[in-house]
Point group: C2
Chain length 463, copies 2
């Protein structure tokens, strides 16, 4: 029997009573706050009024509030959380044994819900506030499909209409994701479509285009702002999303505290930053308040390395440039990552909160190439049973490396990583890996520079 | 907030200490035992020696043991169970509210593991005994792919080779299932193949055939019996499988007991009987011992109605007729159900244990058509969040009907049903439903009679 197994279970579950009743807003504990969103026309901070034309009112309040540390989770959202949360904090006994490491490895598993990822934590919150505001429906975009699936579940629960613009290439290549959304009642439109001005313009300019996330965002925003009773919602990057995702970190910390465990290293994959920002929030808060010290590692794909090779400047959040400017580590909104299956990690920029914490030195960052990430995924699947999402597997790879370092040094470090989701809809990528046909690509310095050339130039925002 | 929510959580989890340490063998409490397997040549009961040529030694012991009520779950299997069990017993608060029923509805959810179903409970046990016997590997067949996936996970864990014969039409139409198995290290061969005598003969006789479960079984058995260090394993129907699956019922009963809940109605979908037999085992035991009374309902598809329209006779378990004869409710091993997406419910016969309990009146049976089952699935998904497997959705449909009866009568019955798995790999069927293109088919009396004409004729086994 594995070490510790008599005192620490395989899976630590909080009781439903022990689940968080508040989200934690890490910005409240930051002395130097993340920079505000800017109006791209005036270069002035976006006002609540401006944001409320696009987003739900209470979500705008949350977006702009960088001083309130705890924000109550409404009962209706807590009721829904109870349907699939608390998620387990799993002790990776089998992985430890396989690696023969003195390290103790835990992972917070967010994949046990039909969306297959942590995205549902924010989707249900955003749907709730939309319903509370009396809206008829919301619009969004989806690439890989996790966010669209999560939001379709949330909208079905609250009886809201949902219109999803799905990047055309995904719409065609991922019909199963599309059908999950339809089963939950969402209307799914391939983007670029002929239903919006932007979509028609892009179809005319680039006949036969298979679309992009940037274009899908633009279409979703256009429909939201031009349709009575609709608003637009977004699944990552924004401060409100990280606030909702703090439920991951709060549960993780409560589960660790329940067994008197203090982690040394906390690891999360980082695309737009929603999962990482949520997982680390309470731990980063302790660091910011000078109470504790942890090593926090953000893991990104070498093909889309915003933290490790990007610049910390104001940039557009979307290629269509319809959204506010955000200050973030970015590769430029025109940067096109090479074909890479970690669809959720292909965003050119990083949440302003994560970017600022990284800039202040609270977070380290590493990047990995795709093939080594899938090797880690395969090993993990075979000994821990769970088939991980490619995104999550970046965190696995980093956790393996840290555990192997412990094996060399003999240190009994405690490692916690976020297992954000499952790979059931990513089997095309696994097939490529199984067939030995996966390739890696690291962008050249010239490609990075070309992407960054698209960053808006204004005083104080020079590359 | 929903009724009872302050006293009964959304999800009842046993602690790992409370998990079953023994499987329960319901045959021990049956006065009239299920009929033994027969050698199709001699029509005599199969001996241990005969069975050990095909199956693992300790599994044969379990197959033949109809007197020992409790059989210890080896520590190694309990360690694996702790990686994905206990599964939650969920109170369907949202469904109750949606139906506005006084009934209290619970479901035991077995889908929270990578195989997506309850199949893993027996797969890990069978892999363990194979490993313990010093075997090099095992063979099996898979149709829809749940069993093959579960077994590939189990074999990866114990370091056993696995050769899966996958019905060719599924191999081609369900590449994702195939890739999950390959990711876990299994070798997956489309059946009929050119690697076996039976496969070559069938390919010659029926060029271009897309295969059948019966043919895949025959190929798997041929390879197992002709390869040094290999045995064949099977995921349903057999008594040993129902024994392992009793962990579902034991956990369900322990969870109910923990909160002082006594169910009135227990519902499970029924294909070969592994899930139903496991779920109801301890409850049927109480009935057999005269301690309690429950209404137990087996739910089958109208397209493959072995309990409701079949005959209780000895029949072949496979279309290739290489396996022992089993006494069971059957439609005849040549019965071909119409296209029906509930792949796991397409077996022509029913476990001998379930058949005998049904024959003795301990179990009721109902059948539903496909479209009404998917309607129930969609409703369930939208309010309870989980996207159910088509198989599981048969139980959902029956639970809905029973809950609506309570609404009419005002009775506050407690309903428990088995939610055996998730539908992530069944989205082709959901797509058909979403597009309004799903059709139903009920076999005619003539078709049933034609299937039954293939039942072996010998004294006492007349149709």
């Amino acid at each position: 029997m594995a070490k510790d197994v008599t005192t620490i279970p395989y899976k630590i579950y909080l009781t439903e009573d022990e689940m968080p009743k508040n989200w934690y807003n890490v910005r409240a504990d930051m002395t130097k706050k993340p920079a505000p969103l800017l109006n791209p026309g005036t270069l002035q901070p976006m006002t609540a009024e401006e944001l409320e034309g696009v987003f739900c009112k209470e979500l705008v309040e949350q977006e702009l509030d960088d001083t309130t540390p705890f924000i109550e989770i409404p009962q209706e959202i807590r009721d829904f959380y109870r349907m699939y949360r608390p998620s387990p904090l799993v002790r990776a006994y089998c992985l430890e044994e396989k690696l023969d490491t003195p390290a103790k490895i835990y992972y917070k598993f967010e994949g046990n819900n039909t969306s297959g990822s942590h995205k549902l934590n924010s989707a249900i919150a955003q749907a709730y506030y939309a319903k509370k505001q009396g809206l008829k429906g919301v619009t969004t975009e989806t690439g890989a499909g996790q966010w669209g699936t999560a939001l379709s579940m949330a909208c079905a629960y609250f009886g809201l209409d949902l219109k999803v613009f799905m990047v055309k290439v995904s719409y065609e290549q991922k019909p199963f994701r599309r059908e999950v959304m339809r089963t939950y009642g969402a209307s799914v439109t391939p983007s670029p479509s002929l239903e919006t001005n932007i979509g028609r313009a892009i179809n005319e300019k680039f006949p036969g285009t298979t679309g992009s996330l940037g274009c899908a965002i633009s279409e979703a925003v256009e429909v939201a702002t031009s349709t009575e009773g609709y608003r637009y919602v977004l699944g990552s990057v924004l401060a409100q999303v990280l606030l909702h995702q703090s439920v991951i970190g709060l549960e993780t910390k409560a589960a660790l505290d329940k067994y008197g465990i203090t982690p040394d290293i906390i690891i999360g994959c980082a695309g737009g930053g929603s999962n990482l920002g949520g997982l680390i929030a309470p731990f980063a808060g302790e660091m910011l308040r000078g109470e504790k010290d942890y090593k926090i590692i953000a893991v990104e794909p070498a093909s889309c390395p915003s933290l490790t090779r990007g610049k910390y400047v104001y940039d557009f959040c979307d290629t269509g440039m319809v959204c506010p400017l955000a200050k973030m580590y970015t590769l430029g909104s025109g940067f096109i990552p090479s074909a890479n299956h970690a669809g959720g990690l292909r965003f050119h920029g990083m949440s302003s909160i994560v970017s600022e914490l990284y800039d202040q030195g609270y977070i380290d960052a590493v990047s990995y190439e795709q093939t080594e990430v899938f090797e880690a995924a395969e090993m993990f699947a075979r000994c821990e049973g769970i088939l991980p999402a490619p995104e999550s597997s970046h965190a696995i790879k980093c956790a393996l490396d840290e555990a192997l370092k412990c094996k060399e040094t003999g240190e009994e470090k405690t490692i916690v990583f976020g297992l954000t989701g499952t790979g059931y809809f990513d089997l095309k990528a696994y097939e490529q890996f199984n067939d030995g046909k996966m390739t890696d690509y690291i962008p050249t310095d010239e490609e990075i520079a070309a992407g960054l050339a698209g960053v808006p130039q204004f005083p104080g925002n020079e590359i």
